[in-house]
C-alpha cells in the first residue's frame, strides 16, 4: 500500500515539462497532475512509473477562460473550479450540475479536468462531457502541438490517442448557445462512487421541434459516446414524455455493455434506459421559454 520508487521532476514551464517528459517517457515516465487516480494506482502497485513529471507548478497550465466560442480548460484546472458556473450561457451551469457527481469534495480540490480526460476511465464524467459536447484536446510534446477531437481521442478503457511523450495541456469545450437545454443523470450505488451508467443530453427547440440533439452515454461501453440512433428519434420532433421514452428505449438497445455476463449487460441496459429518460426530463426542466 505504499507507492514504489520513482524519480520526481517539477518543471515550471510547459517547454520544460515536455522536454522532461520526452526524456523520461521511455523509462515509464508519467505526468502527475491532481494524482487522484494515478496515486491510488501507485499505492496498489498497479502503476509503477519510473519518473513523475509534476505539472502542478506550471503556472501556464492553471488557466480557465472562455472566449466567444470556446471554454479553454488548462491542465491544472481542478474539478472544484466548476462548482460555480465558469462560462456564460448554458455550459457553465451544465458543468456545475455534473461536477457534484465526481468523487468527493476533497478529491475535487486536487483532481483535474484534463487529468480525468487523459485517464479515460469509462466512468469518468468529464470524458462523457468531452464526448457528448465535442471537445477538442490539445496535446503538446517536443514534436509540436496536436489538436485531437473527442471521437479520435478516446481509444478504450484507460486508453487515449496521447503518445507517451505528450501532455494534455488543455481541453476546449464549445460554448452552448443560449436556449440550449441540458440534462445530466448518473446512477451509482453510493454518493461519490463510480457511475453504473450515466447520460448527458443537450438540445435546442426551434419552431416547437428539437434541433441539434445530443445524447451521450458513459460508464457502459469501453468509452463514452454519443448514441446517434437515439438522437435521430428526437430530431425535428416536439419534446415530450412519449418521445423521451422512445429515445431512451433506442439508446438502451444501441449500447453494447462491457459487462461479462448477460445478466450484467441486461441490467446496464435497464439503467441506461432510465438514465437517458431522466436526463431528457431534466433537460426539459431547464427550458426558460
Amino acid at each position: 500500500m505504499k507507492p514504489g520508487q520513482f524519480a520526481y521532476h517539477a518543471p515550471k514551464t510547459v517547454a520544460d515539462a515536455v522536454a522532461m517528459l520526452a526524456e523520461v517517457a521511455p523509462q515509464n515516465g508519467r505526468v502527475l497532475a491532481g494524482g487522484q487516480s494515478l496515486v491510488p494506482a501507485m499505492a496498489f502497485r498497479a502503476a509503477l512509473p519510473g519518473h513523475l513529471v509534476d505539472i502542478n507548478g506550471v503556472v501556464e497550465l492553471a488557466h480557465l477562460a472562455a472566449d466567444a466560442a470556446v471554454l479553454s480548460i488548462g491542465a491544472c484546472t481542478r474539478h472544484a473550479a466548476f462548482h460555480r458556473p465558469v462560462a456564460d450561457g448554458p455550459l457553465g451551469p451544465l458543468l456545475s450540475s455534473v461536477v457534484r457527481h465526481i468523487a468527493h469534495y476533497p478529491i475535487r480540490t486536487r483532481g483535474t479536468f484534463c487529468g480525468s480526460v487523459a485517464n479515460a476511465d469509462p466512468a469518468s464524467e468529464w470524458c462523457l462531457v468531452a464526448a457528448t459536447l465535442g471537445a477538442t484536446m490539445v496535446a503538446r510534446s517536443t514534436r509540436g502541438t496536436r489538436r485531437i477531437g473527442a471521437a479520435e481521442f478516446f481509444g478504450g478503457i484507460m486508453s487515449t490517442a496521447l503518445a507517451d511523450d505528450e501532455i494534455l495541456t488543455e481541453t476546449h469545450l464549445p460554448l452552448l448557445v443560449a436556449g440550449t437545454r441540458y440534462g445530466f443523470y448518473e446512477f451509482s450505488r453510493r454518493a461519490g462512487d463510480f457511475a453504473i451508467a450515466m447520460a448527458l443530453v443537450a438540445y435546442r427547440v426551434e419552431g416547437g421541434v428539437i434541433t441539434e440533439p445530443r445524447i451521450g452515454v458513459g460508464a457502459v461501453e469501453d468509452r463514452p459516446r454519443r448514441i446517434a440512433e437515439a438522437e435521430a428519434i428526437l430530431r425535428d420532433e416536439a419534446p415530450g414524455a412519449e418521445l423521451f421514452r422512445a429515445a431512451s428505449e433506442v439508446a438502451a438497445e444501441a449500447v453494447d455493455p462491457i459487462d461479462a455476463t448477460p445478466d450484467g449487460q441486461e441490467y446496464k441496459r435497464d439503467v441506461v434506459r432510465a438514465a437517458v429518460r431522466r436526463a431528457l426530463e431534466r433537460a426539459q426542466g431547464t427550458a426558460h421559454d
Binding site: 505504499k2 520508487q5 520526481y8 517539477a10 494524482g35 499505492a43 496498489f44 468527493h104 476533497p106 478529491i107
Partner: protein, 177 residues
C-alpha cells in the same frame, strides 16, 4: 543526496536531476516549519506522522477512499495519502494538532464530544479537518450540501447522524461568535 531549492528557483537549474534519493525539504504545518528528509514516494500523511511526529492525522485506506488522513492544504481539504510530501513544500498545511488553542478546544472538537460524534475516534481527525475547511469556506452552508460533503469520509461507529449534528451545532456556534 541533494536539497530541493526553495520555491521559485527556475526549473532549468533542476533539469536532469534525479530525485529517487532522500531529499531534505521544509514543510510548514500549523504555522511551524519542519525540516524533514523524504523520498519522492513518501506521501504527505506518512511524512506528517513519521517525520514530523504529528500522529493526529491517521492513515486508513491509503488510497483516497476513507478520508481519515484529510488535512488542509492552503485551506482546502485534501487526502494526505494522495499527495506526495515533496508536493507540499511552500504550502500552508493544517492538521488536527493545530485546532485547539492550548487547553481550549476548537468549537468543532467540543461539539464532537457534546454530540457523541465519535466512538473509536479513528476517523475523527479527518472529519474535523474536513469540517473545518468547509465551515471556513462557507459558514452558512446548507444542510443538503453539508450532508454531501460529510459523505466524503467514512465512519464505522457512529452511523454519521451524530457527526452531522455535531458539525451543524458547531457551525451555528462559530457563526454567532
Amino acid at each position: 543526496m541533494w536539497s530541493v531549492p526553495p520555491c521559485g528557483v527556475p526549473s532549468s537549474e533542476r533539469r536532469g536531476q534525479r530525485m529517487t534519493d532522500i531529499t531534505e525539504i521544509t514543510l510548514t504545518v500549523n504555522g511551524k516549519d519542519y525540516r524533514v528528509r523524504v523520498e519522492p514516494r513518501h506521501t504527505l500523511v506518512d511524512t506528517l506522522r513519521d517525520q514530523c511526529g504529528l500522529t493526529g492525522t491517521h492513515a486508513g485506506c491509503e488510497h483516497g477512499v476513507c478520508g481519515s488522513c484529510t488535512v488542509l492544504v492552503d485551506g482546502d481539504p485534501v487526502r494526505a495519502c494522495l499527495m506526495f510530501a515533496v508536493q507540499a513544500q511552500c504550502r500552508q498545511i493544517r492538521t488536527v494538532e493545530g485546532l485547539a488553542s492550548g487547553d481550549r478546544l476548537h468549537p468543532l472538537q467540543q461539539s464532537f464530544i457534546d454530540h457523541h460524534g465519535l466512538q473509536c475516534g479513528f476517523c475523527t481527525p479527518g472529519f474535523l479537518m474536513l469540517s473545518t475547511g468547509i465551515l471556513e469556506r462557507d459558514p452558512d452552508i446548507g444542510d443538503e450540501e453539508l450532508l454531501e460533503i460529510l459523505s466524503s469520509n467514512l465512519c464505522r461507529c457512529t452511523g454519521y447522524q451524530n457527526i452531522v449534528k455535531a458539525v451543524r451545532a458547531a457551525a451555528a456556534q462559530m457563526r454567532s461568535s
